[in-house]
């Protein structure tokens, strides 16, 4: 209506610039710029604010001469080489196991009944924050954990927990396992998403009709087609795994810890000159991640080159028999471990005395819950506030950008797309210190708004990931009909597109919320330790406090995103209970 009126209003020449401005406003021209600004500022300022101290420049502690001294000190720091080894081994192994087992699993089991079962089971694990899963896994793996209890004393003869480094092992293997369990569901979901967009069935049928078995057929005709869509998630997983802090504190070795944890500790040392060393370490962490990503890219090229003859070679049989069993077993095992970890969290939160080697607690109690409901409740409220605010802003910005694309009839370039995913590829520890210096310069650190901003950074990529396909696949005829009926673009957006997008939008909100709940370092750095979320509390408690209390926090931490996810699925079903076609989101 407003648009129609504007058409009728006679235009005077003086109002032309104003008019252009109004038109630009209506096209939402501001949306991509604001969005880019919101996350490019923290990352670029943060990186710069970390690189300068790494080379000796930090006026706040009276260092203004550029030098390589911080690097010399870093490499002389006790345990730094072991720390790098732990980071590399756990990150590469965790990513490798997750990626290979998921690809093999989809390749071999996509046509089997187990596929649906695992798919349904894995999705909830996606919502569980890393820290909660790691805590549960620690309860499972520890020498006194459930794993050993299941075998003791009847098989092992142990009446007491053995002196074995089953977790926090010096090589970081427990950490690698935790990463594999947590990242496999993400990669599987991304694979499924990619499959749905690449006519996998038709390709597969064609290959099968040429006599290829389902496994080889999948590897030969489906994987090459979907890999470009998997590249980014895979890179994100690799970057994350190499630089994770919260999981490494819980599952990784203590002396020396992984590189990211070591750097994190150096940043908070009362000896301020160590901040330069920490900045050098953070920059080294960035280098390691970039190096690993480049190596992976080179590996892709190499495989693409050498596999070409295999792809077109035409051999038909080979590994069809054994591969499914191995891949199915690997993915089933990670799923099982994931669920066992969550179950253990719940058990411990209701346990009172539970000594080795008893399989179940000797005494149960609600005391852990009643004692900690006030403080855990307060932390849950903070978590909820930050999560809701950052998820809503992320989804709103993503929608504004997508709507701008539609109105201005432009498509995001590949470069802009990669820029958008930068927060997932740059290790958090590599820029959060610089970001904190920036915040503290403007006296913004410790404010809730700063924490929300820091979380928004990591929510945005996921909001785009979850919304761009459904948005672009909206049938344009709906909007056209709306426009023909005289509705302005704004009205079409609110009355036609949003209701059609309700389901993907709620899922995007839930994903962003889960991402926010899981954030550890951004909460600490931007919040100056004042914003206490379930995640920061749980990681702090994991340093050794009472398992029952830790379990209460971890259960709440895991429950929050799961509840939000469930709600995001239930709301469309409820709202559109009388409109069958709307329930599936109308995105096809």
């Amino acid at each position: 209506m407003a648009g129609a009126l504007r058409q009728l209003t006679p235009r005077s020449p003086q109002s032309a610039p104003l008019d252009a401005f109004r038109r630009s406003l209506q096209r939402l021209d501001w949306a991509p710029g604001i969005t880019l600004l919101l996350f490019l500022v923290p990352i670029s300022v943060g990186l710069l604010g970390t690189w300068l101290p790494a080379f000796g420049y930090l006026p706040a502690v009276g260092r203004e001469a550029l030098s390589l001294e911080p690097w010399r000190q870093l490499f002389a720091y006790p345990g730094v080489s072991s720390a790098i080894r732990v980071s590399l081994l756990s990150g590469l192994l965790g990513t490798g196991v997750a990626a290979v087992s998921v690809v093999l699993f989809v390749a071999t089991c996509h046509h089997r009944p187990i596929f649906r079962v695992i798919k349904t089971l894995l999705s909830p694990l996606l919502a569980i924050p890393h820290a909660a899963l790691a805590i549960g896994l620690a309860f499972l793996l520890a020498p006194s954990g459930l794993g050993m209890r299941l075998l003791s004393p009847w098989a092992t003869g142990f009446e007491r927990p053995p002196d074995l480094a089953l977790m926090q092992d010096p090589w970081g293997l427990a950490l690698a396992l935790g990463l594999a369990i947590k990242e496999a569901p993400f990669l599987l979901l991304m694979t499924l998403g990619a499959l749905s967009q690449s006519q996998a069935e038709a390709r597969l049928n064609a290959a099968r009709s040429l006599g290829y078995g389902p496994f080889i057929a999948w590897l030969k005709v489906v994987l090459p087609a979907i890999y470009p869509k998997l590249r980014l998630p895979l890179y994100a997983v690799l970057a994350y795994s190499l630089s994770v802090v919260d999981m490494a504190i819980i599952l990784g070795p203590t002396v020396p810890p992984s590189l990211a944890v070591l750097v994190f500790r150096l940043f908070s040392d009362p000896d301020l000159s160590l901040r330069l060393v920490a900045a050098a370490g953070a920059t080294l962490q960035l280098g390691i991640v970039l190096g690993a990503l480049l190596t992976l890219y080179a590996l892709e090229r190499l495989i693409a080159l050498t596999a070409r003859s295999w792809l077109s070679g035409g051999q038909r049989s080979a590994v069809e028999r054994s591969a499914p069993a191995v891949a199915g077993a690997a993915v089933s095992l990670t799923t099982l471990l994931g669920y066992a970890s969550i179950l253990l969290l719940i058990l411990w939160s209701f346990a009172w005395r539970w000594s080795f080697p008893n399989l179940l607690p000797e005494t149960w109690s609600l005391r852990s819950w009643s004692n900690h409901l006030p403080d855990a409740g307060a932390a849950a409220l903070t978590t909820l506030t930050i999560g809701a605010a950052s998820a809503t802003s992320a989804v709103a910005l993503a929608l504004a950008c997508l709507e701008h694309e539609a109105r201005a009839n432009v498509r995001m370039t590949t470069a802009a797309l990669w820029l958008l995913y930068l927060p997932l590829l740059v290790p958090q520890i590599a820029f959060l210190f610089g970001f904190q210096v920036f915040l503290s310069y403007f006296a913004l650190d410790g404010m809730l708004l700063s924490v929300i901003w820091a979380h928004l950074l990591f929510c945005l990529p996921y909001a785009f990931l979850a919304l761009s396909e459904p948005f672009r696949r909206l049938d344009p005829r709906f909007a056209r009909i709306g426009a023909c009926l005289g509705a302005s673009p704004t009205r079409v957006f609110w009355r036609v597109k949003l209701p059609l997008l309700l389901r993907p939008m709620l899922i995007a909100l839930a994903v962003c919320f889960a991402v926010s709940v899981a954030q550890y370092l951004p909460t600490l750095f931007a919040g100056a330790g004042r914003s206490m979320t379930l995640t920061t509390e749980a990681v702090a408690l994991s340093a050794g406090a009472n398992r029952r209390t830790l379990a209460v926090f971890a259960v709440l931490q895991a429950a929050l995103p799961v509840v939000v996810f469930t709600a995001s699925l239930a709301i469309p079903a409820l709202l559109y209970r009388n409109r069958r076609a709307m329930r599936s989101g109308m995105s096809a």
């Binding site: 706040a60 502690v61 345990g79 006194s144 007491r160 080795f356 206490m532 340093a543 050794g544 009472n546």
Partner: protein, 402 residues
């Protein structure tokens, strides 16, 4: 009823000391008025939930009684807060700092005092400071050999003791030398938290005091590298012999005191180290140790110290922080802190300075099955100068942190 009489007592204390003992530049009632409505960000180590619960209680009381809001900023290492204040000073943030009160002692206090990061003197002007046992507990005014000069207010008394499960372990060592034999006979059943965790660092100092040729030298600052190397040589020699028989062959260490005590409860180790003589009883009460847990100390004594609270120079809520520090010294708050059902941390107050009614708060406390009487706890050894501790932590990391 109990609550009422306690409030009355607190008020009586305020009236009694309010006018005479107020700070020179600001009478106490003005401090109270200024504190009303302030939010105190109390940065305190948050690794022990019983202590956290006690702090929650303090926060509720402060809100109810004085209209002061207290937020517990949980630290995993007190150094984090010191570092934050130091960074604020470096960047010129001289007011509206993010830390209002720090739970502190030892090398962190020394660092802050040395760098002019503390507000005060304020401690001895607090009305309740008059009740502190400054004669019987000299460490309430001398922190790791460094005079407090009123820059920190005493909060509690700590003393090293060792927890074991009497149902599982019969023989316990009586000296640092005895630990060596004990560990050799019980492979993999002892460990200590990795420094700079304060329990781990204190254990190293305990070792050093017993193995050093002349322990008195530790009361003065380290003079140079050569002196440090010479004095600590027996310590490294001892650790080199001890480590092979420790948990995980001494190649990995628990992250903290509470992590070590979890290992004791799980049965992975047989001895845990504690800083609070009533802690074992407290842990039994909260289901974290079996009823058969007991404590022991060493024949020649163990290290004891006092822990304090201090206010950073740029704190936003200095009045609120002082009201909080004063409340922490009140007989009611001190008695609750000493109660093993809550925390089990010994009081800094002198029983002789309390009224009969105030004393009865302490006399009524349950002792707890695992708590030793003061004479059974043995002599208290003095903390070395903080410069020893920082150096030992670095040297430890260089030797065993790779």
């Amino acid at each position: 009823m109990q609550r009422l009489s306690v409030v009355g007592l607190a008020m009586a204390t305020l009236v009694a000391f309010g006018s005479s003992a107020g700070s020179a530049d600001q009478p106490w009632d003005e401090t109270l008025a200024a504190a009303k409505g302030q939010t105190v960000y109390w940065n305190a180590w948050g690794g022990d939930e019983r202590i956290n619960a006690y702090i929650d209680w303090v926060a509720e009381e402060l809100e109810d009684r004085y209209g002061v809001r207290v937020v517990h900023v949980k630290l995993s290492d007190t150094a984090e807060a010191v570092s934050r204040v130091l960074a604020e000073k470096a960047s010129g943030r001289d007011s509206d700092g993010s830390v209002d009160l720090i739970w502190i002692n030892g090398e962190n206090f020394a660092t802050m005092k040395e760098n002019g990061l503390l507000y005060g003197p304020f401690a001895e002007a607090l009305p309740n400071f008059a009740l502190v046992d400054v004669d019987g507990k000299p460490t309430t005014k001398i922190d790791f050999t460094v005079p407090t000069d009123g820059l920190e207010s005493p909060w509690g008394m700590a003393k090293i003791n060792f927890i074991y499960d009497s149902a599982r372990t019969e023989r316990t060592p009586g000296s640092i030398a005895g630990f060596l034999d004990w560990a050799a006979a019980n492979e993999g059943r002892f460990s200590y938290p990795a420094p700079p965790d304060f329990i781990g660092s204190t254990f190293l100092k305990q070792v050093l005091i017993e193995v050093a040729e002349d322990a008195d030298i530790l009361q003065s600052p380290v003079t140079d590298d050569a002196q440090f190397d010479a004095v600590t040589a027996p310590l490294w020699n001892y650790l080199d012999r001890l480590h092979p028989s420790l948990w995980r062959d001494g190649e990995s260490f628990p992250a903290s005191g509470p992590a070590l005590r979890q290992l004791l409860d799980d049965g992975e180790v047989d001895i845990a180290i504690s800083f609070h003589p009533s802690e074992a009883s407290s842990l039994i009460a909260s289901g974290q140790l079996p009823d058969s847990a007991r404590i022991f100390v060493l024949d020649n004594g163990t290290i004891g110290n006092t822990h304090f609270v201090a206010i950073p120079f740029n704190a936003s809520a200095k009045a609120g922080a002082q009201v909080l520090a004063n409340f922490l010294l009140s007989p009611e708050a001190q008695a609750r802190k000493q109660n093993p059902e809550h925390w089990g941390d010994d009081t800094v107050l002198a029983m002789g300075k309390l009224s009969a009614e105030q004393r009865s708060l302490f006399e009524a406390l349950p002792k707890g099955a695992a708590t030793l009487s003061p004479d059974e706890l043995g002599p208290t050894l003095l903390e070395p100068h903080p410069s020893w501790m920082t150096r030992i932590e670095t040297a430890w990391l260089e030797r065993y942190g790779n």
